[in-house]
Subunit: 254 residues, 2 copies
DNA sequence: TTGACAAGTTAGGCGCGGCTAATTAACTTT
DNA sequence: AAAGTTAATTAGCCGCGCCTAACTTGTCAA
């Protein structure tokens, strides 16, 4: 019954597809999975049987498909790998969205956990470190076209450094009071200081790394504030309004 | 006859293994290929048939295996992808050699050409740009352990910048005369200014990107100067002494 | 109520890439 | 030269993941 064997790349893609379909529409229909993965319906049925044998989805013929506990966790894991790699490709390597997406989906299956962590950390490093910052990486574009114009690089470096010092000087003025995650606007970063949620609701979030001390960035807020899309530890995550209200943060200075 | 279909990850690994065995020992024996890939001998025979059908190796039962023209090119391509990814993992993500190696071998099959180019360029960018340089990336290590100690980052940035300016001031003093590739010592970088080789000998090198204007770095030189291991365009390459004598370079300043 | 039709499943087939076991070829020894 | 040893090949099997074709099931409109 258990079955903890490694998932094949193919099955991981099925999990991923189901995850996204459940999120977009309410349920994951066989036909939609098939379309998404460019595969015939019969193949989907086979995959569902395989996932069901591994107890990752609850599946009986003709009935609706749902994730099991471990199934949802496994799906989240794939989605995270995909999104972390894509982020790296887009933000650091400056690859266009579409290419980054397909590349991420191809490589997500062979990247190990420690290596992924490195990718995530590196992306964060470049974003956070004053010498770097995503702005700096744009110099990479220039570098790609011309051959290593060092003068230009150097000038850019100085400008960047000055900006950082400027910002730092102003930081004392900023408020550092606790506020709800939902009150942040897109682009703002903050650190989690308290999580007050029902057990059931918080499980998923904790699994995604929503713990005290973690830095989060709000990516976008849907029309009525539900859901809020945030990024933490390099991964994207959708948080329902209710949940966002139970998460208290403190804004970073920089 | 033709058969230009995409190579499977498995067949690419066989090509890679054969390539390295031919380079290390003179020939690639079935048993050695099997050992290297953790596979049984019977599987190797099957793979050799498949490669032979695609005209990538010359193979008749019980006889020695050699690459065809296109086979060697295909093998080189895999080896390049492997080495470029590994380089990125080691130099930028600061992963240990062994992990980098296995990760590279896992991902080399799913990375597209344009994305690989990005990896290569980015690694070069970090190495060449004065604001960065491999030395800088070591700050990443520190960043991984502590959470974004920005003060430290900033200090490091200043130091680095000063060093660059220092070096730059001295550059006028350096000689810029043409010399043979073989005369460089490990660690030195130079730009190719002239290639004087027999057609047959130069084909392989040109395929690897050994063209006028390209930057090369000498990695190591074997006891008697043969072969010379160099890196160009982010890839590693072994050059025979004879060949190295026909390649003229000019040292870079920085 | 009852077709008609779309969605889903089952059955069976195929290519790939491993494997084992049995066979054959190529070398070594005696 | 014959026997023994190691390397390589063949034959045949299996699991995976896709496919097509034929079938069930569910739904909705006449
Ligand atoms: Mn994928
Ligand atoms: Mn994916
Ligand atoms: Mn490989
Ligand atoms: Mn490899």
């Amino acid at each position: 019954m258990a079955a903890t064997s490694e998932l094949s790349a193919s099955l991981e893609d099925y999990l991923e597809a189901i995850y996204h379909l459940v999120k977009e529409k309410q349920a994951a229909r066989v036909k939609d999975i098939a379309e998404r993965l460019h595969v015939k319906a019969a193949s989907v049925t086979g995959a569902l049987r395989a996932l069901s044998e591994r107890e990752l989805v609850n599946y009986t013929p003709y009935e609706i498909v749902t994730f099991t506990r471990s199934g949802e966790a496994a799906a989240l894991d794939v989605v995270r790998r995909h999104s972390a790699l894509k982020d790296f490709f887009v933000k650091i390597l400056l690859v266009d969205e579409a290419s980054a997406d397909s590349a991420a989906c191809a490589m997500e299956h062979s990247v190990t956990r420690p290596l992924l962590e490195r990718f995530v950390h590196f992306t964060q490093f470049v974003e956070d470190c004053p010498r770097a910052g995503t702005k700096w990486v744009r110099g990479f574009s220039y570098y790609c076209d011309h051959d290593s114009k060092q003068d230009n690089c150097e000038k850019c470096m100085r400008t960047n450094l000055d900006e950082v010092i400027q910002k730092k000087a102003n930081k004392g003025a900023q408020a550092m009071t606790e506020q709800q995650l939902g009150s942040l606007k897109p682009g703002q970063k903050a650190k989690i200081v308290r999580v007050a949620l029902a057990d059931a609701a918080s499980r998923r979030l904790v699994e995604m790394g929503m713990t005290v001390g973690t830095m989060v960035e709000v990516i976008k807020v849907a029309p009525l504030g539900d859901p809020v899309e945030i990024k933490l530890r390099g991964y994207h995550l959708s948080v329902r309004k209710k949940e966002a209200e139970g998460i208290y943060v403190e804004q970073a200075m920089l």
